[in-house]
Subunit: 360 residues, 2 copies
């Protein structure tokens, strides 16, 4: 989707991806197969481009820092990625900058969790390399301590939340900051993946102002250049807390491709190329439904129900071009738009019931 | 832009283009360099795909007909392309189907024009191979007869028009027909190229109904599967006449990428893949400004004024990735949107004044 946005501006984009058959392979000016976590691969790749950015934060930051030292423009900045890569540094960063977040304890190993009975219920999060639900364990009581990670992590107070919100914020080199409207995410009960999203969130003005303000302050605190997706909890008392952030285009902003004047992807290019940031106003309320591979199906992907979906006005499927489907693999998403919120919800229900991604 | 729309749906697109360095080369699944007018090239290319479509009507129709006879799905149908390729057949088609168009005489050579003094002023159009202003001559009086083409053509009464309008219409295999809102085109005084466009057109409901009705009837008369761009004259008496048509995505629909629920490009895919046609409602009034290479500049293209343009809300540049600029070469376009028509016109003026495409 970042590549699609680059086409309008005639940008020449080189892509480094570990998968030789990555779907983006046929959509970019130059494709290099290689590991994002290997120093030499990233360093050599970066030397050939003018501006370097990322779409995933599991990348070799040492190589990015070396490139930055040599004068290469690397956005988001390696120092920001380094902090965000490690949930321990990330949480500490919020505390140091007075940004609201759930209380936490840094843990070095499983024993540290086992000895923190009075801090439970809590979530134990692996410091590094967690992704999309991996690397997080719910520890309700001391009896669950064996589920904790025996590696450096953070034990975070479980927030009894009312809603999960997100604000995507962009910041360019000259320090302009622009936020997208606050959205509301509904997570899959088991998978820790966004199941669907509504934009804008149905929240009070006061809550919205908190969310927007926190997003701006977080972007400024990091001094980030690029996009920052700020995931938030709204607790039962009406307080907004930072859950975690991602320094890149994010699932919680996919609807902006159709629903907003400027998409998150165009906004990322604007930010890292130091152009004026775009207008983030939305045309109509929108929802986003993630398309996950059907349980029990592994193999070449087939899409059922597309006809039903395309018969609905204002419904836009986005398939990610992944050849193989697996149970719960994120295969695409559907953006749904309507000026009427009731019709919007009805359309979301039809989308969820109609489309299935199965193996051939 | 057709490729960009295909990415959302994960379509595998093979492209045949005469230019080995065509900008689409890096945006498609498979690229073949070859002549669109060569029988064997088109025939062999077509054999490897499931559905064949075109973006330019100067293509070898004999090859397309052979593929169609062998059961290949070719949309728009070769018979439609054959009629539209030749302005003589096209004009005769309107007459045969009772579709309103300016009066005309078929001419075989220059002498036929010279002997038609009482039909002037008129435009002499070459039957075949005219494109973007080439192949059209204004013949005011018999003194201009030497400017006429000495080849089969059509001499068409000059319409004293109030406005030039266009309606893009889509038709799928099951016969569903859907039109985009009527737009108004302002041509460059000398170049016979659309300079800018406003959508929707500022016309009366009665005129709009004529335009929409003619577009639907023309699509049905051709039985076309795919997009048909119908260019129209509104004469001083309030009558709408067909100027000419193009059986493909068209410059008069580029604004639909941002301004309408469904873009003309997505609509073309829907039509030729026999999916339900998309909603063509617009979100906001829009304008489109064609970006032409600056006079006096030939060479590697450089874009001046992008910063000014990107600072305006609701302004979207689209650059076509052409490496070399030439005087008046179509290098891209800018879509401008605003809910307020006065602000829309102001933004169009800023866009026209700010951006220049020059050689390095």
């Amino acid at each position: 989707m970042l590549l699609q946005a680059s086409i309008d501006w005639n940008l020449r984009v080189h892509v480094l991806d570990a998968d030789a058959e990555a779907p983006c392979r046929h959509l970019c000016t130059q494709f290099t197969q290689g590991s994002l976590t290997d120093y030499d691969t990233v360093y050599q790749f970066g030397q050939a481009v003018d501006v370097l950015t990322i779409e995933i934060e599991r990348v070799n930051v040492d190589a990015l820092e070396a490139l930055e030292r040599e004068g290469k423009r690397v956005f988001p900045q390696p120092s920001v990625i380094r902090t965000i890569q490690d949930k321990r540094l990330q949480k500490q960063f919020y505390r140091d900058h007075g940004l609201p977040t759930a209380d936490f304890i840094l843990t070095e190993n499983r024993a540290d969790v086992a000895s923190s009975a009075d801090f439970l219920p809590a979530f134990h999060k692996l410091g590094r390399d967690g992704y999309d639900g991996r690397g997080v364990q719910r520890i309700v009581s001391i009896n669950d301590a064996d589920k904790a990670f025996d590696a450096p992590g953070v034990l975070e107070k479980a927030v009894d939340f009312e809603k999960e919100l997100a604000v995507i914020v962009a910041r360019n080199e000259r320090g302009d900051v622009s936020t997208f409207p606050t959205v509301e995410m509904v997570f899959h009960p088991e998978l820790n993946l966004v199941e669907y999203l509504f934009a804008p969130a149905e929240i009070s003005d006061a809550v919205n102002e908190q969310a927007q303000d926190i997003a701006r302050r977080t972007a400024d605190a990091f001094g980030i250049v690029g996009l920052l997706a700020v995931e938030l909890f709204l607790d039962k008392e009406g307080h907004v807390l930072i859950n975690e952030v991602a320094p890149r285009p994010h699932n919680s902003g996919h609807h902006t491709i159709r629903a907003n004047v400027t998409s998150q992807f165009e906004q990322h290019w604007r930010a890292i190329l130091n152009y004026p940031l775009g207008d983030t106003t939305y045309y109509q309320p929108a929802a986003m439904v993630n398309l996950l591979g059907e349980a029990g199906h592994t193999g070449p992907a087939r899409y059922e129900g597309l006809e039903t979906l395309l018969a609905l006005p204002g419904v836009f499927p986005f398939f990610y071009g992944k050849a193989i489907t697996k149970p719960f693999r994120k295969m695409g998403h559907v953006t749904v738009m309507d000026s009427n919120l009731e019709r919007l919800r009805e359309k979301v229900a039809v989308v969820r019931d109609s489309i299935r991604i199965i193996s051939e």
